[in-house]
Amino acid sequence: MLIHEHSRPGRKGAPQAPTSKADLSDIPQNLLRKDSAALPEVSELQAVRHYTRLSKKNFSIDTHFYPLGSCTMKYNPRACNSLAMLPGFLSLHPLTPDQHSQGFLACMHELQAMLCEAMGMAAFSLAPMAGAQGEFAGIKMISAYHQANNDDDRREILVPDAAHGTNPATATMCGYSVREIPTLENGDVDFEALQQAVGPHTAGLMLTNPSTLGVFERQIEKIAAIVHDAGGLLYYDGANLNAILGKIRPGDMGFDVIHTNLHKTFSTPHGGGGPGSGAVGVAERLKPFLPLPIVAEGNGSYRCLSEQDAPQSIGRLSAFLGNAGVLLRAYIYMRLLGKSGMERVAEFATLNANYMMAEAKRRGFQLAIPDRRASHEFIITMKREASELHVTAMDFAKRLLDLGYHAPTTYFPLLVPECLLIEPTESEAKEALDGFMDALEQIREEAKTSPELVTTAPHTLPVKRLDEVSAARNLDLRWKAEATA
């Protein structure tokens, strides 16, 4: 039932706004709204009850193991939420003069510094509001760098075919053409193909390492060398740093620019779709191009750098300082972890992934890349199950929901057929991992004995399998009064 269906004309019952409407007669009649907007009219109780009940239809970390690969669904500490929502932060207007917002700016400055240290970069900007915007900023900086060097012929960005869709989309948004680089069976980039592709037209290479296939790119130094030798720059898609945090730093691998998804590795909540933060870090030579604002320190006080301070900056990405509340949460998380905590993120994330991989192997599941170490995630392919039992990876995914587990990422990376990309994260206990593997095994058993049960799953959720095709064909994108009348 939609909130609109609880609405009755004239219903109020909430002391939430001025009880009467102030005079607007100074505004020309033709600029005023004539009708009232068709918003729901419900009591506060009805709204609270509706949205409380609605929330119960979600899986979430706070309710379920959620091993969604490439998404790093780790625990979001509750302290990060309450401390980022202290009144002193919540009521701060973004255009408040710097001397009135020193507490906030101090946090941001320290966050920049911690990110530099953890990533091995020279400087960070916190402006981008999600991973994709971080990518945009990164590629834009590469473009600005070449432009500053009058190196105008570099029209191409290289992207491995295993890359996340945002990488090629970003390159396009920055005006580049995209050239795909194939991936080998063992998960490494096809080095020869790369060698052939690199050249004077190469603006840069976007790489994720470990790749979305969940393995570490072993030739990273050679790759860095040929791209750099050709005058290109190296971009690190740092959406998922859980595999490396505390073990190896993108800067040390030779990357020139990186975006980080604070809403993954640094545990800010994903909120059912956002907000995130895609802070970008750069090596020395790209520093002048960082997006604004950046928080600088001098004489013991903090201030935001502006266009005057950074004339070569690629500019602003939002009206203010990006997703400040998200940044505060990441800051708090990093301070809670501290040095030794942060050094151990990759260790335990990787331990969990490799343990699950070993268990998957032991239980007879087929691994996409069986002979390598998993990073923070690994891939099972249901190719065999799909062809022999006619039960697809999607069926497995849906049936997992019935058994109380959020499904892993399905059908990504695109290279692996019928794949489940599984990422447990470091904050899950062994029981959860074992329980999940038991569930997978149970489903495989069901697929043999009662395949219907699996192919028509889920059965225990608020809705059964939804018709996505008709959703796209017969667009119903908003409630209309007539529709229910």
Binding site: K12, A14, A17, A22, D23, L24, I27, N30, L31, L32, R33, A38, L39, E44, A47, L54, S60, D62, L68, N76, N81, L83, P87, G88, P94, L95, G103, F104, A106, C107, G131, T166, A169, G175, I248, H270, G272, G273, G274, R316, S318, A319, N323, R335, L336, L337, G338, K339, E347, L351, A358, R372, R373, K398, P458, K464, A471, A472, L477, R478
Partner: protein
């Protein structure tokens, strides 16, 4: 270790299952000379008690002040229920609703959001949110370029009455794509965009015209005439509005004969706290004709195999994870949680609540302007009617005045002089429904004193 539940015994069991002796072996594929020896620049960990103490101190360092700044972010009352519900774990810690059946909460709520924001804007379609108002403008521009098949020019008329930070952001984002953003000046007396100026800037092919209503100055543009003119010239109309204001102002969908084609803006006034500048969210609506040009996620209503109503992400073929380099945008993660808050906020306030709030903001600002303008050396910058925000001219440098006010914990307004030097000592002021009569009078008294002292200083000097 914080947030790592492993016991020694479990670690041993897991290592054994993997067939290794030590976790180091998990990283054996990494060239050892690349491995970091330790993150020495990271301070030691803190307990929750310690970080709480630190953050309380930091929060207190942000000096509390009475805020008369608007300029794109507005301090409103948010019902207590809004964030108590929004931060429920089921909303707060869910991912993007990729598994629809396990995400009906977020999906239905987003559908309700789309229904509400299209009702407010009176547009056909909304997406599930963009990052903020400024980046939403950039996406609107890109969308117009893709959507206006009649225009080849990729020229967008972007009036100076549009928020300066929005213009800068749009420039950053669209500049790589061979798009021309043409500045159009405003009329100095009225503080609004004039049709004549538009016509002059137009050239013979324009892709779209951007209109902000109320303008950055708070002035009210002649949206009907501009919209009709644009449409006559085969240009699309992109509106930027404060979504609270259109509870009482004519919504973009009703501008001129045909309405705006694309409506965007920042959702912050509908339930997002000021929060140092974010997270807010950008809303983006369009006419049915442009639906396939829409960037970002969209939720649709459908049915399950039993015919029961349910909700899914739809039209995904536009998006980067399918269309990759040819996607409508690279946006992936959006501002879902803020949309959650905003939807609950709108539901609790209802149409009357939003109207009364908008009207109260306007009345307070009117009162503020009246009080301040009564001071010697203060006068309204423009002659046009305004809504909710207004530009004032001082006879002293604005930054000095604001500085002096800030020392008394009054954030007096936004200094217009760096973005609009031609106006002289101009500042933008705003009083939302939260500002009380006493606060307004205190501002008046303080400003009066500041201006007087300044004068005296000068006399002495």
């Amino acid at each position: 270790m914080p947030f790592i539940p492993h016991t020694e015994q479990e670690i041993d069991e897991m290592l054994e299952a993997i067939g290794i002796k030590h976790t180091d072996e998990l990283f054996e594929e990494i060239p050892s000379h690349l491995k970091v020896s330790g993150l020495d620049g990271i301070p030691p960990g803190m307990t929750e008690m310690e970080i709480s103490r630190l953050m309380q101190k930091r929060a207190a360092q942000n000096r509390e002040a009475v805020c008369f700044i608007g300029a794109g972010a507005y301090e409103h009352h948010i019902p207590a229920a809004v964030w108590q519900l929004t931060t429920r774990g089921e909303y707060y810690t869910a991912y993007t609703p990729y598994q629809a059946e396990a995400s009906q909460g977020t999906l239905q709520l987003t559908y309700e959001y789309q229904s509400m924001i299209t009702a407010l804007t009176d547009m056909d379609v909304s997406n599930a949110s963009l990052y903020d108002g400024a980046s939403a403008l950039a996406e609107a521009v890109l969308m117009a370029v893709r959507g206006n098949r009649k225009s080849k020019s990729r020229r967008i008329l972007l009036p100076r009455t549009v928020h300066p930070a929005y213009r800068k952001t749009a420039d950053t984002i669209v500049s790589g794509q061979n798009i021309e953003l043409v500045e159009v000046d405003y009329d100095r007396a009225s503080g609004t965009l004039q049709l004549d100026a538009l016509k002059q800037a137009a050239g013979d092919d324009i892709t779209a015209v951007v209109i902000q209503q109320p303008s950055f100055f708070g002035t009210l543009e002649d949206v009907d005439a501009i919209t009709d003119w644009a449409h006559e010239n085969n240009a699309l109309v992109i509106s930027i509005t404060n979504p609270l204001s259109i509870a009482v102002l004519k919504p973009p969908g009703q501008w001129g004969g045909k309405g705006a084609d694309i409506a965007c803006g920042d959702g912050q006034p509908l339930g997002a706290p000021l929060s140092c500048g974010g997270p807010y969210y950008g809303f983006l609506c369009c006419s049915q004709a442009l639906v396939r040009q829409m960037p970002g996620r969209i939720v649709g209503r459908t049915t399950d195999v039993d015919g029961k109503e349910g909700f899914v992400l739809t039209l995904q073929a536009r998006e980067q994870h399918i269309r990759r380099s040819r996607a409508t945008s690279n946006i992936c993660t959006n501002q879902g949680l803020v949309v959650t808050a905003s939807t609950i906020h709108m539901a609790i306030l209802g149409p009357r609540g939003l109207e009364n709030t908008a009207a109260a903001c306007h009345a307070n600002t009117r009162e503020l302007v009246a009080q301040l303008s009564a001071i010697d050396g203060v006068r309204p910058a423009f002659s046009s009617p305004v809504f909710h925000e207004s530009a004032l001219l001082l006879d002293k440098p604005v930054n000095e005045v604001l500085q002096a006010l800030a020392e008394q914990n009054i954030l007096g307004g936004y200094d217009l002089s760096s973005d609009y030097p031609e106006l002289g000592n101009a500042m933008l002021v705003c009083a939302t429904e939260l500002r009380t009569e006493e606060e307004i009078m205190a501002y008046r008294t303080a400003l009066q004193a500041v201006l007087a002292v300044e004068t005296r200083h000068k006399e002495i000097a």
